[in-house]
Structures are given as structure tokens and as C-alpha cells.
Amino acid sequence: MAGFVLRRSLQALLVLWVMSFVIYGLIGLMPGDPLDVMIASNPGATPEVVAHLRAIYGLDQPMPVRYWHWLLDALHGDFGFSRTHSEPVLTVLAPALAQTCKLMLISFGLSVVLAFGLGVAAARKPGGWVDGFVSLFAFAGISVPVFWLALILIIVFAVQLHWLPASGMGTVGDNGFIDQLRHLTLPVLTLTLASTGQFTRYVRAAMIETMRMDFIRTARAKGLGEGRLVLRHALRNALIPVVTIMALSFGTLFSGALVTETMFAQWGMGKMIYDAILANDYNLALVGLLFATLVTLLSNLAADLAYGWLDPRISLK
């Protein structure tokens, strides 16, 4: 078990290293470089000045050499400067990461709880009215585009009812907990509704399949009530496929909330990476993407560990 975690961690480091090279290369493939962006905003820059700046930034070097320098610095904990923010990358990243963590952890937690509640309830009687209602909700959640959902929520709760702020992360001058919570509510609601549908479908399918198994009949033949039958016998077995899917989608959620973050003006990882790429702020984009990779790798590892813990037939070696 410890050996498994160690080996998988080393693998993760290897993947991170390869990904850093790939992302670095991909950013290098984008047309233009940061200086082109600078020149565009400063027509007075002479070619000599530009060439001098290129040399200072090391942009006259071939890509592998530049990557090597970046890697050496990164290994020393120096991830460079964000060109657009004029601050060290990690200083820019920290608040975005914090905001994403808030958004993602809350909405992920909520959708997991909701999905289990709804999925298990639906699977009790497939084809019944509860199932019909839950399936409708799940399909709506899967089919409705996130931007549309966000707009509707804004129109209803912010514009019409004035219950909640339409966007932003806090009212200027008020940094209280309640205020932050009010600003988080609509984006969290959007993200929760968007992922609950899919999760619910998986929980429902896994539960229906499990409830048909022979050992469920055995448990009934023992005289167990429905509660213990569902919670102790069926759910544990149904969790095995579901946990994998949930852990995998956690990684995606982490880097993929661009639309929601944009709609609600949340300064999170998705928005930060997107802006950095557009502005050719490659140091920031690179670290942002690597962080998203890291979260994906970690959630994969968590999925494997959960899998081994839930299913005694699987031994992690």
C-alpha cells in the first residue's frame, strides 16, 4: 500500500515533468511572443530595443534551451514573473487557486451528496414516479448549457428577486463571511446543478445493477430491512464504479469552470489560465495548467486508493 502510493507519486512527478515540457512547447507554438504583444501597445519601440529586450528575456534562445532554464528555476521554487500582473506567478496564482477551491469543493461536495440522495431514491423503484422525476432532473442538468443556466439564475435571483449579487467575489468595502457566501451562492449553484445530473445518472445505474445481484436477495432472505439492505449491502457495492467517475471528474472540474467563472466574474483558475494564454503570459499559463494537471493526477490516485479501500478483491501493490 505505501509502496503503491510511493510508486504512483513518482509516476505523477514524471507525468508532471513531461507535461511541463509539452505545455511549454505548445505555448511556444502559439503565434508571436510576449514582445510582439508589448510592441503592439508601444509603437515607439525601435527594433534595437526589441532585440535587446528579446536577449534580456532569453527569447532569442531556441525553445529547448529556454525550457531548460525555466525547469532549473522552477526546481528552485522560482516559477518566474507574470508579465500581465507584474508579480511573481505564485502570488498571482494563490488567490485564484483559493477561489477555485472554494467554488469546487463546495459544489463538488453538494453534487455528490445530492447525486447519492437522488440516485439511490430513484433506484428504489426504477420506472416509478420518483425515478421519473429524478431522471428528468438529471437529463435537464446534463443537457442545459452552463452559460444559459448561469444567466437564468442571475435573472431570477439577482435581477428579479434581488436576493443575491449577480457577480463578483465580494462587495467593495465589505469583506465579511456572509458577503462572500452571498457572492459564492450563484456560481456554486450553477456548478452543482451542472455536475449533479451526470453523477445522479451514474449512482442510479450502479444502484439498480447492484439491487439485482444475488447477494441482495440473500440479504432479503436474512430478513434485513430496506434501510440496511440499501445502505450496508447495496451502496457499498454501487460506490465502486461511482467513486472512480466522481474522482476523475473532480480533476476536470478544477480546470474547467471557465464559463461559470466568467459569467459570475470569479477570479478562479479557469479564468486565470484563459486570460494568461490570450495575453501570452506564458509563465502564468504554464504553472496554471501544470497545477490543473497535478490535481487531475492526485484525484486519479485518490480514485485508485478509494477503489482499493471499497473493494477488498482489489489489492494495491
Binding site: D214, F215, T218, A221, K222, G223, L224, P312, R313
Partner: protein
């Protein structure tokens, strides 16, 4: 050994499913009784309604199925009783052992816990006591180092051990009736013999009645006092085991006995009963076995025979009984 009221009295038990707007009856008009401490063998081909009959005794017929008729257990009517009463009965006074112990045991729960669960439920034991009792039960069913085994998961045990664990689970509350649905079918022959022997030992110790279901007449003959032969949802013959082998009356029973290998008779090929059990939507108007019966005539094909007594304790549903 006939007591005034038998432990189990099944009368006109019918299981119906509505399929495409028509009610199909995979079990129809089954009647038999079983005295305390005795063993009833139920024999028949796959699909003749043996397992459904067993599930009906525990009120476990899946949702759209309808059960009619009467099942009286220890004097009380079971059919139509509320679910809570069924739950009190199941695993407690009536227990069941299933065919495939690999799939019938929960793969992610240690077997000790699965056994202990029954006693926590029915005997109000606390978990630690129930776990200790489970270890005792594992020992009683002949599992070596039961303490370690109690913590094992089903996939860590052999087929024979899994079935022993299954039996331990069924017998945890010392039931008055054990329904065993093909308990040895998934096991190899030497293990089969061990399991049958184990069940007999435990029967004489606990004094429970056993309803032993099998497609294998040879296995049933080893432990049954009385045998019921089922065909296409009906009982076609019922007799004490010795009588059945001595004087089988129904052509189907004769066919089953003829297909058993006999070491005294050297045969190039074992006889077979031609054809197969009819599909549920193709049950004939007359005798359901007529299609495959060497003796069948026009009367057999138009009128369904009833289960009539031939001699004391021997019934057969055949116009040609004894011919």
C-alpha cells in the same frame, strides 16, 4: 411420522406474472406438507418452478409477481401477511441457502459480519457477541481457523468453504425450516458429498426441517424422506423416497430415474428424456408432459390430470399412472 399439524402446509400455491397482458403461472396449484425435522426433496428440470416455490415460502417473489394459495407455517398463514412479519420470519425461523455461494454472498463484506448480521437482527445480540457467535458457527460448519476466516471476504474462500459459510449464515438463528435451493450444484462432487453430510449432521443437531431443491435426483435421494417431482410448474408425483424409487408412477419420474447412471448396468449411453420443458407461454391444455411422454394419448393431450392418490402417501398426476 405424521404429526397432527405439519410444520409447513402448502395448499394450492400459485405464482403468477403478468406478461404481455396475460397472467402466466410458472408455479400452479402446488400442495404439499413437511413435518418438523423431516426432509423434503423437490426435483425437476431447470425452469419447472422449484426455485420460485422456494422464494414464495419466504415471500421473496419479485415485485410484479402475484402469489396466491396458502402457505401455513407452524400453524400461521404466511401469504398476505405484512412485510414486517415476513422480515421477522426470514433468516430467523425460515432460512435459505442459495445455489451459487460466490454471487449469493456480499463480495465487500467479511463473511463473519454477514453471519453476525443475522443474529444482531433477530436475536438482538450486540455486534461483538454476534461476531463471536459467528466464529462459533463457522467452526460448527467445519471451517478451520474460523477466527481468521471470519475476517475473510468471499473471494478469499474456496467454493466449498463459501457454501459452508452460507449454511452457517442460514443456521445462525437455528431455523425450524431450511430451504436449500440447489446448494450443491455449483460444487464439485466430493465437496457436494461433504455439504450434504454437513446438512444432515446439522439437521439432527438443530432438528430443523429441510426443503432440498435439486435437479439431481441422485443428490436428493441421499437425504430426502419424501420427494416431490415438479414439471412445468406442477407437482406430477409425490411419494416417500423409497416408494418413489421402488414404484415410480409418473412417466416423467420413471424417465428421471432411468437417466441415473447405475453401476450394476453397463450401458453405452444413458437414456434421456427427449425434448425440453415447454416455455411458459406454451403450456399445453392437457397434461404438460404429454409432448415428451411415450404413453400419451388423445385424452392426455386434452384433459389435464389431477394429483390423485395411488396408495397411502403416494400421489401422481397421470392417467397412465402405474402403467
Amino acid at each position: 411420522m405424521s404429526v397432527a399439524t405439519p410444520l409447513l402446509q402448502v395448499t394450492d400455491l400459485t405464482v403468477g406474472f403478468r406478461i404481455d397482458g396475460q397472467v402466466r403461472k410458472p408455479v400452479q396449484g402446488i400442495s404439499y406438507s413437511l413435518d418438523a425435522g423431516r426432509t423434503l426433496g423437490v426435483v425437476g428440470e431447470s425452469g419447472c418452478g422449484k426455485s420460485l416455490t422456494a422464494l414464495a415460502l419466504l415471500g421473496l417473489i419479485p415485485a410484479p409477481g402475484q402469489v396466491t394459495g396458502s402457505v401455513r407455517f407452524a400453524g400461521a398463514e404466511l401469504i398476505g401477511q405484512p412485510e414486517a412479519a415476513w422480515r421477522d420470519l426470514r433468516g430467523n425461523r425460515v432460512a435459505m441457502v442459495f445455489q451459487e455461494p460466490m454471487t449469493a454472498l456480499n463480495p465487500v463484506m467479511p463473511i463473519g459480519t454477514q453471519i453476525a448480521e443475522v443474529m444482531v437482527l433477530h436475536q438482538s445480540l450486540a455486534w461483538p457477541e454476534a461476531r463471536d457467535a459467528a466464529i462459533g458457527l463457522l467452526e460448527a460448519v467445519g471451517i478451520s481457523s474460523p477466527r481468521q476466516r471470519a475476517a475473510s471476504y468471499p473471494h478469499q474462500l474456496s467454493g466449498g468453504m463459501r457454501q459452508r459459510a452460507m449454511i452457517a449464515m442460514a443456521l445462525a438463528c437455528r431455523p425450524a425450516l431450511l430451504v436449500a435451493d440447489e446448494p450443491t450444484t455449483a460444487l464439485d462432487v466430493t465437496i457436494q458429498a461433504q455439504i450434504i453430510e454437513l446438512m444432515q449432521e446439522l439437521q439432527s443437531e438443530i432438528g430443523m426441517a429441510i426443503q432440498f431443491i435439486s435437479h439431481n435426483l441422485a443428490v436428493v435421494s441421499e437425504l430426502a424422506d419424501e420427494i416431490v417431482v415438479m414439471y412445468a410448474g406442477r407437482i406430477v408425483e409425490r411419494a416417500p423416497a423409497a416408494t418413489l424409487f421402488d414404484r415410480p408412477a409418473h412417466p416423467y419420474t420413471k424417465g428421471l430415474i432411468a437417466t441415473l447412471p447405475d453401476p450394476d448396468r453397463r450401458q453405452a449411453r444413458l437414456p434421456v428424456i427427449q425434448g425440453g420443458v415447454p416455455r411458459i407461454d406454451a403450456f399445453a391444455v392437457g397434461c404438460r408432459f404429454a409432448e415428451r411422454c411415450p404413453l400419451a394419448d388423445a385424452h392426455c393431450r386434452s384433459v389435464e390430470p389431477t394429483l390423485d392418490p395411488l396408495e397411502p402417501e403416494h400421489w401422481a398426476a397421470c392417467f397412465k399412472a402405474g402403467q
